[in-house]
Amino acid sequence: MSYQIYQTDKAGLAQFYENIIGKNETYAPVLNFEKYEYKKVSKLADCNPESPIVLTMSMKPLFFPKNSAILKYKESSEGTEIIPDAEDDLAKKRVVLGVKHCDARALQVLDKVYQWDYHDEDYRKRRENTLIISTRCEKAGAHCFCTSLDYDVENSDAYDVMVVKAADGNYYLQAHTDKGDAFLKENTGKLAANDGIEKIKEQYTAFAASFALKMNYEEVSKRLNEQFDSSEFENATSNCISCNTCSFICPTCHCFKISDEKIKDKGIRYKAYDSCNSPYFTLMAGGHNPRPVKYRRWRQRAMHKFVYYKERFDVNLCVGCGKCAISCPVNIHIFDVVNQVANKA
């Protein structure tokens, strides 16, 4: 990577963030009932770009809203009139601060499904108009396993700018994309000394050593594919209460449903998150359901994350953020599920 590295101290970084917030529509980690979410902020004091824990909610809702209107319609004696519900602020530039690497990586993974064949233009515009400034994690959370997957966390281009707090107390800012490079040139001052790159490396080494969870990704993916008929899927997921929280909170789960609501002669059609863990997800008219039992739905979830999406789009669908485990009411972690199935003799 040939991008220049800039250096600043705590006060300088705060100034850098304040300037961004002052000039742009900005989102950043906001603490809300002991949980961090990316929220719109108007001053630095409202947020914490160095949130110490994995965020409960990812950036997904900023690009793929929980629900969005597709159209409104009106009926009369003349027939039906459809009014498409176009969002008008897609062209607005946005900056997201304090982004965790996993949340940024998740968008790269989602890009694949949204940009094949039919393209999701709304998603693309939101992506294009958003600059992502990531803060590199100081240490791994208890459920994190991003370094065990199929991509290079250290040299990622999932975000435009990376902020690293080095052991010497200084902050180093490095662009990871051309867009980030141009942004830094415009918005920062002091170039780092020659050893900046070393400081960043040292920090990464310490971070990478802090992971409690590790797995051999290729091996697990291959074994899962071989274990399609294994009863271990059932054993590993028997506690699941099918609440779908894992899907809604997952930064890469993207299944949705389309629903209608009608009051008298007017109505609305909207798109909302759905989950393959729901018993109704594949239930067909007439009562046939190819995944009528819980373990088969879980098998689809695990295999989609670790096998199918990779076969189709050449990236793993799970980014190893551990959000599903943090929010699961019965403490199921997809890491444990796939490893338990893969390690079954």
Partner: protein
């Protein structure tokens, strides 16, 4: 993507009652530009909406050679289809998105004998291709249609079946599951009639089949017994779909999106999918 999810308005020109629980809806796209651009191929499907009640997936049951209008034959099976049956009248507006999915390989089938095997409402997607082949009759060799239903009342497209019966360039074999008064045709389930009455030759023949899962299961076994290679047996898959765009994830089987890679698959392709059915 929201724009891609907005349906085109269609006027319901005709509602034809086929059986006690199947109606055919003949639709015309209202906007002239949209009508001109609506070019489908036999085997493709649409998302059909009754605004306020929901959107469902149905195949287009008529051939693109008969343009202007198109047909959807809908069986009353779930909540939205029940609403469709009870609420839609001639002259009303409904929504359509599409056409979506792949199609029957009708070019590859040129110069071949075609054997259509349909059961119940499964004749709907086949009808699009049958009409297409009749309208391009010179391109195809022998055309045989084996069609069965539970009872004579459950046979769809009764008027058209008479036309096919009278057409000297097609062989139509009808069957019902149980004997009935005044029924002089075959009695017995489709796979049985296939083996005992139709007795098709595998020579230069493509089989196109669609029907209820239980019929498909035993028909595939019979075709195997008769010596048909899986690559020469084509079917259209039933799977819950919603967006039709390869996004909503509902129709995933393995890495396949049935709405994009299907719904038309050869038996050979189906065998390569994870065994979820």
């Amino acid at each position: 993507m929201e724009q891609l999810l907005v349906p085109m308005l269609c006027r319901v020109e005709k509602v034809i009652s086929e059986t006690p629980d199947v109606n055919t809806f003949r639709l015309r796209i209202k906007d002239e530009n949209q009508l001109q651009q609506f070019n489908w191929r036999p085997g493709q499907f649409v998302e059909f909406s009754l605004l306020g009640y929901g959107e469902c997936t149905f195949c287009i049951a008529s051939s693109p050679t008969r343009k202007g209008t198109f047909d959807c034959s809908i069986k009353k099976a779930g909540s939205v289809t029940a609403d469709i049956h009870s609420l839609i009248e001639e002259g009303m507006d409904v929504g359509i998105r599409g056409p979506f999915g792949n199609w029957f390989p009708y070019d590859e089938m040129k110069g071949k004998n075609l054997l259509f095997i349909g059961g119940g409402i499964g004749l709907a997607p086949l009808r699009s291709l049958i009409q297409y082949c009749i309208d391009n009759r010179g391109d195809y060799k022998d055309i045989t249609i084996l069609y069965g239903a539970r009872s004579s009342a459950d046979l769809v497209y009764k008027e058209e079946l008479k036309e096919w019966q009278a057409n000297p360039s097609i062989k139509l074999v009808l069957t019902i599951d149980r004997p009935e008064d005044n029924w002089n045709d075959n009695v017995g389930v489709v796979p049985k009639i296939l083996e005992e009455v139709v007795k098709p030759s595998i020579e230069n023949t493509k089989v196109i089949t669609c029907g209820p899962p239980i019929m498909i299961k035993y028909t595939l076994l019979s075709l195997d017994k008769l010596g048909f290679e899986p690559k020469n047996v084509i079917t259209t898959l039933e799977m819950k779909m919603q967006c039709g765009l390869g996004k909503c994830g509902r129709c995933n089987i393995g890495h396949t999106y049935v709405c994009k890679d299907g719904p038309v698959f050869t038996y050979e392709q189906l065998k390569a999918l994870p065994d979820e059915f």
